[in-house]
Amino acid sequence: MNTTALLVLDVLLVFSLLSLAAAALATRDARRSVILFMAFGLVLAVAWARLLAPDVALAEAAIGAGLSGALLLAAVREQPRRALSGDTKPIHSRNDAGLKVTLQWTVTLFCVALAAILAWALTQAFDSASKDALAQAVSANLAASGVSNPVTAVLLNFRAYDTLLELAVLLTAVLGIFALGPARSGYRSAGPVFDGLTRWLVPVLILAAGYLLWVGAHAPGGAFQAGATLAAAGVVLRLAGQRTIGLPQGHTLHIVIAAGVAMFLVVGLSLLVLGRPFLGYPPALAGGLILLIECAAMLAIAATLVLAFLGGRPQPPSVNPAGAKPGALSISMLRSRSREFPSDTDSHNAESCRGFNEEKNRC
């Protein structure tokens, strides 16, 4: 591709990003804002691809363009008018209005100043000579990392502490979500077209997740992208009104959520016992250990993101299928073809009363 064409592409991409961000933030309509944000995520994925960051583009395509949009849309849908619109208090006097304008200008000026400082710092960073030291260190040690994709090597080997703590952050977030209340009420059973979509999309998503996990060792991909793709399968099942969405129940669920952190700690501590530094893999075993950790991390990330979409503690269904194994996440997704019937008013009421708000309202 010649330089001029690339330049035109860059200008158009940047302009699209800026105008979408501005449009998403300018509107007062929550749903419009969310849809514009989803479009922003789509364009951002293309921008990452253009900047030769395919790993990031994969994550953005799965999360930015898909999952976080689904998450925000579910929030908009649940509280159509009231809660999320916050405290828009009417302005009582002219004095208040004046104060508000002053505040707005102050904040705007602050933000502009911040952007200017950031831009200045950025030009310094671009000019600094030592910027390649880290990249060179990564490529020098890549052969000993057990994988050939440098981003996976950084995430799971060179900076494995970061990823361990990141999984701990995810665990904390999901525990917070659990503590805040039960899950949102479920979805109505979808029509035949939606069902047809579910029937092929869910297996393909699961397959794609497995593929991304596997290629992550030598090509863009890995546990994060795979986990997000797997979570998308659960989200689609939930949206289609399926009763089971592949999440295990009870203690098994707790094990799956903690699997990423737990596997990291098990591997790290075992290495410590064997006389190596914490998470300092022996080069011969590094590839296998990384894959092991990534499998657990993928399941934990997928479960976390599905629970994030549910928005709370999942309610146990009336019959608790015993004996689901922690690894059975994707398998039980495939098995779950049980449908709920919208005409069944009893189950309809029972389901809606599970929602946190409805619990106090109607039951």
């Binding site: 029509g191 077209v193 939606f194 047809g196 979509l197 092929w200 999309l201 393909v204």
Partner: protein, 94 residues
Amino acid sequence: MIDAMASLLIVSGLGFYLAGSIGLLRLPDLYSRLHALTKADNLGLGLLTAGLALHAQDLLIALKLVLIWLAVLAASAASAHLIAQHARRQETPS
């Protein structure tokens, strides 16, 4: 020869893409815009992937391209239907 065919396919795919997006902008209401969009999805991307697949050295890559086209084909048909259904529901509250 193959080069020329690939170029022809790609160029006609681009034509459908542009026609689809101009239709999306110019047509008066959601249902007719839906009609414009599906052309871009199905034929535009179909021709584009066919052209690129002819050019791919690797058979695996060519297969992946076809897979992507099939996925978009099935997904866009379903999502166009769902969006239309959603719009209908909003017009006539049940």
